[in-house]
């Protein structure tokens, strides 16, 4: 599902974020991307969503070379990838339901269908009853569940999470992780970037270690 070969990313200011990275993530796999802050976790995720182009190497998503995509093709790639951020990135002037409906609106579904599917994913994350609330009225954990609902609204093939529990307390963190496992069980490949090793240990899933922009333990064919 995700294939990276010899990927190097050097930012305009000369910082080498990734160096000669090769890694595969299979369809329906659950993987943790771990490493200290500044190791290159976020950069690796940004390469997958085409927010940043690789300086060198190949990034392939579901068989498509991301580096070769034209600018106007990028949105269609992103519709197949759900993304969850540490700071939730919800739109506070919209209700919970409207936030979750946003990707469905962009897709151009009929309003009734948008509503039906948004309510469906809100039920999956256990927040259907808060659909009319504004994000600011919710707790941190609830906001992250809304963000997850938005990320899976289009039933993506891949779900990326960048430090999704960084702002949450341990109980809530565990709840969110169970949610990711549930989503993964529905067939979505899930990649979670985190430096919370306690969570990683408990989850019993594949771990991709990233250290100073390199993946020393990854071996790919």
């Amino acid at each position: 599902m995700i294939k990276m070969r010899g990927v190097t990313k050097i930012y305009d200011n000369g910082v080498v974020a990734l160096h000669d990275v090769s890694v595969d993530v299979a369809k329906g796999e659950l993987a943790f991307l771990t490493g200290p802050s500044g190791a290159g976790k976020s950069t690796l995720l940004k390469l997958i969503t085409a927010e940043e182009p690789p300086t060198e190497g190949l990034v392939e998503i579901a068989g498509h070379d991301v580096g070769a995509l034209r600018r106007r093709e990028v949105p269609y790639l992103r519709r197949r990838i759900g993304v969850v951020f540490q700071d939730f990135r919800l739109l506070n002037e919209r209700t919970v339901l409207e936030n979750v409906m946003l990707p469905l609106t962009i897709l151009g579904l009929a309003p009734a269908e948008q509503r039906r599917r948004a309510l469906q994913v809100l039920t999956v994350v256990g927040l259907a009853q808060r659909k009319d609330a504004r994000p600011m009225e919710l707790s941190g954990g609830e906001q992250q569940r809304v963000a997850i609902a938005r990320a899976i609204a289009l039933d993506p093939a891949i779900l990326l999470a960048d430090e999704p529990t960084g702002n949450l307390d341990p109980d809530i963190t565990w709840h969110i992780m169970k949610l990711f496992r549930l989503i993964n069980a529905r067939g979505t490949a899930v990649v979670i970037a985190t430096h919370n090793y306690d969570v990683v240990k408990k989850m019993d899933a594949r771990v991709i270690k990233i250290i100073r922009g390199e993946l020393p333990e990854e071996a790919v064919a």
Binding site: P75, R78, R89, L91, T105, I106, G108
Partner: protein, 287 residues
């Protein structure tokens, strides 16, 4: 097309939420449109006066003082056959004297004190509408004065030419000033909407992350600019209409802009807003 309702709702919401920035942008468009509108009104009114005068244009042809009735008849036949002349009305010396007294009754004694009527006989030539540009009138007059027995030919040439020139100057200056102010309005709309866009850069980023195309992100902002432009244009038109009505209460015969002018102006104002907005949002699309 399937997103049109969403774009319209978003644009209206954004205008509603814009507060002082939106008000400033509307005001900028209003100011530019009002100045343009004042010039357009001046142009249209000068043009109307010019057209009215032109349609009533005639040339007074004075015959030599010693011309008798028979000679006058021959000259009249000749003048009536000239290209561009629709009618030649004879004004005898006696009729000229009567007209003079009619126009200046207080000078009646002056005329009576003279032993002989000093006014010459004349023809009043009415011109065909297709021969009424200043150049064509001048060409006809040239032929008229060449006719034997004609002393002079007089018409409102200079005045008419000046009026036409004034209308042209007002039109050109108006278009130039309107153009400069229009560009300024676009810049102001760009910077005010730019600030509004900056405040919503997170929204743009989220939209792009969940798969929105540039066009999808841009459309509501363009709609917002269009609404701002149209509102500014409408306020300017209302102010202009009010101004015209105000002048009319003082019996100044001013016409309001014809429909094609104000509709075109309104469309231009909307376009200026949309362009300003599109340019502003462009900077934030590189996610």
């Amino acid at each position: 097309m399937k997103h049109l309702g969403f774009f319209a709702r978003e644009a209206l919401k954004n205008v509603g939420r814009g507060g002082i920035l939106t008000a400033a942008a509307i005001l900028a468009v209003t100011f530019a449109a009002l100045i343009g509108g004042i010039f357009a009104t001046a142009y249209v009114n000068l043009r109307t006066i010019y057209e009215e005068l032109r349609s009533e244009l005639y040339v007074d042809v004075y015959l030599a003082y010693e011309t008798d009735e028979a000679q006058a008849q021959v000259i009249g036949d000749h003048l009536g056959r000239l290209a561009g002349v629709s009618r030649a009305d004879y004004i005898s010396r006696e009729a000229a004297a009567e007209e003079f007294v009619g126009l200046f009754p207080e000078d009646k004694e002056l005329l009576e004190a003279l032993s002989e009527n000093p006014l010459p006989a004349s023809y009043r030539l009415y011109l065909r509408p297709e021969y009424d540009t200043p150049e064509e009138v001048a060409a006809i007059v040239e032929q008229v004065v060449a006719v034997e027995g004609v002393d002079d030919a007089v018409y409102a040439q200079e005045w008419l030419a000046n009026l036409e020139r004034a209308a042209k100057v007002v039109g050109v200056v108006g278009a130039a000033v309107g153009g400069v102010l229009g560009a300024a309005a676009i810049l102001v709309v760009m910077s005010t909407i730019g600030l509004a866009v900056y405040a919503r850069r997170d929204t743009i980023e989220v939209m792009k992350i969940v798969g929105a195309t540039d066009g999808f992100v841009r459309a509501p902002f363009i709609g917002e600019g269009l609404i701002i432009g149209l509102l500014g244009g409408l306020v300017a038109l209302a102010a202009l209409y009010g101004g015209v009505e105000f002048l009319r209460t003082y019996h100044v015969e001013v016409h309001f802009l014809p429909a094609s002018y104000w509709a075109g102006g309104l469309a231009l104002a909307g376009l200026a807003g949309a362009i300003g907005s599109a340019a502003a949002v462009r900077r934030f699309l590189k996610v």
